[in-house]
């Protein structure tokens, strides 16, 4: 079988940091080639090189046997390579048809845009994707995420893409949409398109891929036909060691209820959720992205105050209308998006850690700088943050150390209830187990931890109990002994149709 695109010995550095080292990779016509690796393994850089956004420092790239050097996304597109971006790079105020043809619209004889043709061809492309319900004149901003993604795929097809690169296409889709997307991908494959499929979700990989390439720390660990792999083998290729060592678990005594949530709702995204978190307990919440897990956390934490239902802390009713109030009730939240929600990255470690406890560090309105610096030094020592000192800018730290700063700033509030949303996303394996060990230690000291995670092994390994969310409600509860990957996975994905199709 011939390769549509072939990369040999690709290396790439940013500001003297090596992100890709001697990578070889190829995609054949009519195959789905899955690209796996932890965050930071170099997947997105590799995609960007194939898509013409970045240029490789060394190595060569061939399309249909011809050497190519892409200087822009346009050049990549001209060679039949298109990318469906994870963040869906679309124009919300423009129509579907225009989004599909932006940059390569059909022209009339005069050179003017040929709107009728643009709309007609958009219609054909969307119909090919079984998306008859998407109006070519609709504003893209008014479409659901799944429909926007189809617009992106249609956009790729409109450029006669023979290689389609899909970057975590199911990351923000609900289950019904995932199944439809997978069937679209299969259909494209059957028509001879070569597909690079990036995903963290192993079930999808096994359902879809023909071959798998795993990257770790910028290097290629291996490429193999899917038939030669199983889940355990893939994970150990990704993380570099067997999965069992990953999640240390201390036995802890479960104490009295700390946080009780009664029939909590926020609009339509969190519906009638009730749960109890005990002292010393790690309560895992599993669910797909979009299942309402993060929204539940945001509601408990007061970012989006509940529209109905009650929250009890220590058995007493707690009215939480803002993060300040949540903090004063002893609730801390380590958010999902570290860079946006967790840290002020342009500020120092010291300034970040003190941000949650400014009042307690101050005498009157003025901050006591000595206390502030002491807190920062203590935190650096306690959490093993690798930094030059309290005044180092957070942006310069690695992902794992940044996450430790987020933890430090929230533990400075001496919380009793700790909500952790994706506590180890995008950090290296070493820091990951440090954070897991820390969570165990905190639970042992009597904190209640509510942990949201997309990584099933993490949920299963760390939690005393696992709750499963879907469509904004709780759909399952498993104690430690019954929480198996199969059972929890099934609860997460099982279709109980609730009219939220599309």
């Amino acid at each position: 079988m011939t390769s549509l695109i072939e990369l040999n010995g690709i290396s790439k550095s940013f500001a003297s940091v090596r992100v890709l080292q001697d990578i070889s990779f190829d995609v054949r016509a009519g195959e789905v080639h899955a690209l796996l690796g932890e965050n930071g393994a170099g997947k997105s850089t590799l995609i960007k090189i194939m898509g013409g956004v970045h240029r490789a420092d060394t190595g060569e790239m061939h399309v249909n046997g011809n050497a190519v050097h892409f200087t822009s996304p346009r050049a990549a597109a001209a060679n039949g390579i298109a990318v469906v971006h994870q963040e869906l790079l679309l124009f919300p105020d423009l129509s579907v048809a225009e989004n599909i043809f932006m940059g390569h619209a059909p022209r009339t004889g005069w050179g003017a845009l040929d709107w009728p043709q643009m709309r007609r061809r958009s219609r054909e492309l969307l119909d090919r994707l079984q998306s008859h319900h998407i109006d070519v004149d609709a504003r893209v901003g008014s479409l659901s995420v799944a429909n926007r993604q189809r617009v992106e795929i249609a956009r790729a097809l409109s450029q006669d893409a023979r290689v389609l690169i899909m970057d975590e296409p199911t990351a923000s889709l609900v289950e019904e949409d995932v199944q439809q997307l997978l069937s679209i991908v299969r259909m494209l494959r059957d028509k001879g398109v070569g597909i690079v499929y990036v995903s963290h979700k192993l079930p999808e990989i096994f359902a879809l891929a023909d071959r798998v390439t795993v990257l770790r720390d910028g290097a290629r660990v291996g490429t193999a036909p899917i038939g030669e792999l199983d889940e355990r083998k893939l994970v150990s290729m990704m993380v570099g060691r067997p999965i069992d060592q990953l999640f240390p678990k201390q036995e802890t005594k479960i104490g009295a209820p700390l946080l009780e949530v009664r029939n909590l709702s926020f609009g339509a995204v969190v519906r009638d959720v009730s749960l109890t978190l005990h002292a010393g307990e790690i309560l895992g919440i599993a669910g797909l992205i979009g299942s309402g897990r993060t929204e539940l956390a945001l509601t408990i934490f007061g970012i989006t105050p509940a529209t109905s239902g009650n929250i009890l802390v220590d058995g007493k009713a707690a009215r939480i209308g803002s993060p300040q109030q949540a903090r004063d009730f002893g609730i801390a939240y380590v958010p999902e998006d570290r860079g946006l929600q967790g840290l002020v990255r342009s500020q120092s470690i010291q300034e970040n850690i003190s941000l949650t406890v400014l009042k307690t560090l101050a005498t009157g309105p003025l901050i006591d700088h000595r206390k502030e610096e002491k807190l920062a030094r203590d935190s650096i020592a306690r959490f093993g943050i690798r930094a030059r000192g309290p005044r180092q800018i957070v942006r310069q730290l690695s992902g794992g150390n940044q996450q430790k700063v987020v933890l430090a700033k929230w533990l400075a509030t001496e919380p009793r209830i700790l909500i952790m949303d994706e506590p180890t996303r995008g950090i290296d394996v070493g820091a990951k187990s440090e954070i897991h060990a820390l969570m165990s230690a905190l639970a042992a000291r009597g904190l209640g931890i509510l942990m949201i995670s997309s990584e099933l092994p993490e949920v299963l390994g760390m939690s005393d109990r696992v709750l499963v969310m879907k469509n904004g409600t709780l759909v399952g509860e498993f104690d430690r002994t019954h929480a198996t990957a199969e059972a929890v996975g099934a609860a997460m994905t099982l279709a109980n149709h609730s009219g939220e199709a599309a």
Binding site: A362, P365, I393
Partner: protein, 313 residues
């Protein structure tokens, strides 16, 4: 960050010394105590407003309406006193209160309705100036009692009264921005408003307070302005926002928010005023100096962007 700021301020200080030196050589009238104190008097209104504007820009906002608020308060001062017959001190207090309310309205539009500050205050720039024009019908108010002029034309211990007011406010502003929890909240929300909110900082309340203070201090500046020029007119303070923003940005405050200091703003103000005065003494006509200020504004940002890229890169 602090290292970067220190560097910017050090560059600015050297630039200021150089400018003073060159200007002193150019004209022997420049480096006299009288001239310098007089320059301080002229700088006071822009300076006052620039203090609050430093907070505004550090919080990643902007307030284009300060000149219009100044004009509105000036007009109302005259109206309250002359038309409504209120005692002048009451009229002064009311004027400052109106300024604060005007600022509060800006803050509400920005926090409540999520209108970008640039557009919100561009709209109120027109609105407040329009109110000043409509209320005054282009008539000026004169004939204030003599004691009132102490504020804008008098001296205390040999130093112009409004310079005392300005220095006092500058001290307060420097302490609040540099050392208080409020100042820290301002930096945090300017650098990353979402993270600030997630950290339990009352973001909206802080922004409301900042814009209210900006309006209040523009009102205060209006009163010293009226006292200095002995009259009220509706076009007072036109273009003030330009001078103020230039001084603040020149002083090293990032237009993208999150960094800046009061010391920097003071240096920026001093440099700007020295240039204005020096150029005037060197025979450049009044309007020529605005050209220089515009050039300096653009040049500073270009340079500071280039420097910042080095630092971050």
């Amino acid at each position: 960050m602090s290292r970067y700021l220190l560097r910017h301020e050090a560059i600015l200080a050297i630039l200021l010394v150089l400018a003073l030196f060159v200007l002193a050589l150019q004209s022997d009238r420049f480096f006299t105590l009288d001239n310098l104190l007089n320059q301080g008097r002229l700088m006071a209104e822009v300076g006052l407003v620039a203090l609050a504007m430093t907070f505004v820009i550090v919080s990643a906002g902007i307030d284009l309406s300060v000149g219009s608020i100044l004009g509105l308060v000036a007009i109302l001062l005259g109206i309250f006193w002359q038309k409504l017959g209120l005692p002048l001190p009451v009229a002064m207090v009311l004027g400052v209160v109106v300024g604060a309310i005007a600022g509060l309205v800006n803050g509400i539009i920005i926090t409540r309705f999520r209108v970008p500050p640039l557009i919100a205050t561009l709209a109120t720039l027109a609105l407040y100036r329009g109110l000043a024009e409509g209320i005054s019908q282009a008539r000026s108010v004169r004939g204030y009692p003599d004691w009132f002029f102490v504020l804008g034309q008098g001296e205390v211990l040999g130093i112009p009264t409004q310079l005392w007011i300005f220095l006092f406010c500058a001290l307060i502003a420097a302490i609040v921005l540099g050392m208080s929890t409020f100042g820290r909240a301002t930096y945090a929300l300017g650098a990353n408003a979402v993270a600030a909110r997630f950290s339990g900082i009352p973001v909206d309340r802080t922004i409301l307070l900042i814009y209210t203070a900006s309006g209040l201090i523009a009102g205060l500046a209006a009163i010293t302005f009226v006292s200095r020029v002995s009259t009220t007119r509706s076009d007072m303070g036109t273009g003030l926002e330009l001078d103020v923003i230039t001084a603040v940005v020149l002083g090293g405050t990032s237009i993208f928010g999150g960094r800046g200091t009061i010391i920097g703003t003071l240096l920026g103000l001093a440099l700007m005023q020295a240039l204005k005065n020096g150029l005037a003494l060197a025979g450049v006509k009044g309007d020529g100096t605005i050209v220089v200020i515009g050039l300096i504004l653009i040049a500073t940002i270009v340079i500071s962007n280039l420097v910042r890229r080095d630092v971050d890169g």
